[in-house]
């Protein structure tokens, strides 16, 4: 995938090695303005690692990461633990990395349905409320690239659909590029432009339809698909070791 004018960030053949083991390797991707790219894959397949590479949080041990200079990025990490020693209300958390006006804060919180929590301490929020605050903070920064790592974990079912709707509108309103990591295959497949299926490397990528029809996708997620859809034959063009790396005899 070559870097186009509208590319916000591009990974070319990147790999990250920890303790002699490749967490991900040979991953290439790019995100354009106004595009939603979704990363799917089993636990430990390197989704968060790939996102952190795109964000510049991790440095690649091989390959290259290019991003637009001065890009405004918002990040919703998978896990944030607020320590007891830190008195932090939602209103303070919203201004963590830049100055944001009261009006923008309340409209962002309203967009995710948690306007009433402005004066609450972050540590008393429920899991779902916490996620909504995280997303609101990301929105309030008006980013050009938004990276969401499992953004709806702990959110109830109706809320989940609403939040995915919201993410889609964000793309349309802000025109930002979005990298989304998710488990909710059905929702994801409906709300995304490009899908990359990871398992230590890129198993398959393309439009949701293309990926959904690929054998690799079915091999990884076949059991989660509705019975009527899970018509999958085990026809791999490659095999994995138990750690997700590729076998040589592929």
């Amino acid at each position: 995938m070559p870097m186009t004018d509208r590319s916000l960030v591009e990974l070319r053949d990147v790999g990250v090695k920890r303790d002699g083991r490749w967490l991900v390797r040979g991953v290439s991707l790019s995100v354009d303005e106004g595009e939603i790219l979704t990363l799917i894959g089993p636990n430990g397949s390197g989704k968060s690692t790939t996102a952190k590479l795109a964000l510049g949080v991790l440095r690649p041990d091989e390959g290259r990461v290019k991003s637009t200079p001065g890009l405004v990025v918002s990040y919703v990490p998978q896990k944030i633990a607020i320590d007891w020693t830190l008195p932090l209300r939602v209103e303070h958390f919203m201004r963590l990395t830049n100055a944001i006006s009261d009006a923008d804060i309340s409209s962002a919180l309203a967009a995710t349905g948690v306007e009433h929590l402005l004066k609450q301490d972050m540590r008393v929020l429920s899991g779902g409320e916490f996620q909504r605050v995280l997303i609101a903070r990301a929105i309030a920064r008006k980013p050009r690239l938004l990276v969401l790592d499992e953004p709806v974990q702990g959110v109830d079912f109706t809320g989940e659909t609403e939040l995915y709707e919201l993410i889609k509108t964000l793309r349309d309103d802000l025109g930002c590029g979005i990298i989304l990591i998710s488990h909710d295959l059905h929702v994801v497949m409906a709300a995304t432009d490009k899908v990359i299926c990871l398992n230590g490397h890129v198993c398959c990528s393309g439009t949701p339809r293309l990926v959904a029809e690929s054998a690799e996708y079915k091999a990884l997620f076949g059991h989660q698909l509705a019975p009527g859809l899970a018509l999958y034959e085990h026809r791999h063009d490659h095999t994995h070791h138990s750690d997700g790396s590729l076998s040589d005899d592929a």
């Binding site: 952190k52 964000l55 510049g56 949080v57 405004v72 990025v73 918002s74 990040y75 990490p77 944030i80 607020i82 320590d83 020693t85 830190l86 008195p87 932090l88 209300r89 209103e91 303070h92 958390f93 963590l96 990395t97 830049n98 301490d121 920064r141 990276v147």
Partner: protein, 296 residues
């Protein structure tokens, strides 16, 4: 015109006599340290750096010994030694598998021991070890006060400058980097500021009690504050109160001043554990009920 000049001279003279008073000088130096220690102590607590602070302040003793040995400026030498030790720590952390609390304890006591050994070699100077360990605030000179306030202004200005990246990094390091902050620079800066505070406050509370002056007001403030900036401000207030009440009680009961200040800070910390917030809740509930009764 003439009378105005006379008043000014008398005011200056009054000021001069006031600064001649050792107690006023002690107060000024103590307040300066408390104002700086307040916000810095908050970060020490948030980032779990109390052992780190301890290690840096133990290194201060080695700095004092070296400054006497090589006839250098004391504050600058202490600052240099603390800074060198913190850089060594950062380096060792990446090179050893020792847990960091063990590494810090190891270094803290080693530098303390080496410092005292070096002081032992200095047979030609009489060193009052107790005043180095626990402070000698009643002996601060005007230049000490200037050092505390001058250094304090630098530290506060530096902290304000790095507040956002440092605080974002404290909440979540990945988030801070991803959103374009520079937490590594902020961490190094913070270490330097900590070393600077330690080197300017040796005279006031001594190397063994500095961490107490950083931690206790901030811990008390945590029990009362609802936000990070508020916590820093309350921490300053608690520190100032501890210095004033500690010094006055040391005057009244003839107790050592540095330890009296820390003891006063402890008393304030215990008071902060009282259920103020619940009391406020009950009070507002009580008022609301009274009002209701009045209406009906």
């Amino acid at each position: 015109m003439n009378t105005g000049m006379i008043t000014r001279t008398t005011a200056m003279e009054a000021c001069q006599t006031m600064l001649d008073d050792f107690f006023i000088r002690a107060l000024l130096a103590g307040l300066g340290v408390a104002v700086v220690a307040g916000p810095l102590g908050c970060f020490v607590i948030w980032r779990r750096l109390s052992y780190f602070g301890d290690t840096l302040s133990h290194a201060a003793l080695l700095g004092v010994a070296l400054s006497l040995l090589l006839d250098l400026n004391m504050t600058l030498t202490v600052f240099a030694v603390s800074t060198a030790l913190s850089l060594l720590l950062i380096f060792l952390k990446s090179r050893t598998s020792l847990p960091s609390d063990a590494l810090l304890g190891l270094l803290a006591h080693s530098v303390l021991a080496i410092g005292i050994v070096v002081l032992g070699f200095l047979t030609w100077v009489r060193v009052d070890l107790l005043s180095l360990l626990f402070g000698d605030i009643l002996a601060v000179s005007l230049s000490d006060i200037a050092l505390v306030w001058g250094g304090g202004v630098i530290v506060l200005a530096g902290l304000i400058k790095i507040w956002r990246p440092l605080f974002a990094d404290t909440v979540n390091a990945d988030l801070a980097i991803a959103e374009g902050e520079n937490p590594r620079m902020a961490q190094v800066m913070f270490t330097l500021l900590l070393a600077l505070v330690i080197s300017i406050s040796i005279k006031v509370v001594g190397v063994l009690l500095i961490t107490g002056l950083l931690l206790l007001p901030a811990a008390a403030a945590r029990n009362l504050a609802l936000g990070p900036v508020q916590m820093a401000v309350i921490s300053v207030c608690v520190g100032v109160t501890a210095v004033v009440s500690g010094l006055f009680s040391s005057l009244a009961w003839n107790t050592p001043s540095g330890p009296s200040i820390i003891a006063a800070a402890l008393v304030l910390f215990v008071i902060s554990l009282l259920p103020f917030r619940q009391a406020r809740g009950f009070w507002s509930e009580f008022l609301a009920r009274q009002k209701e009764r009045g209406v009906s």
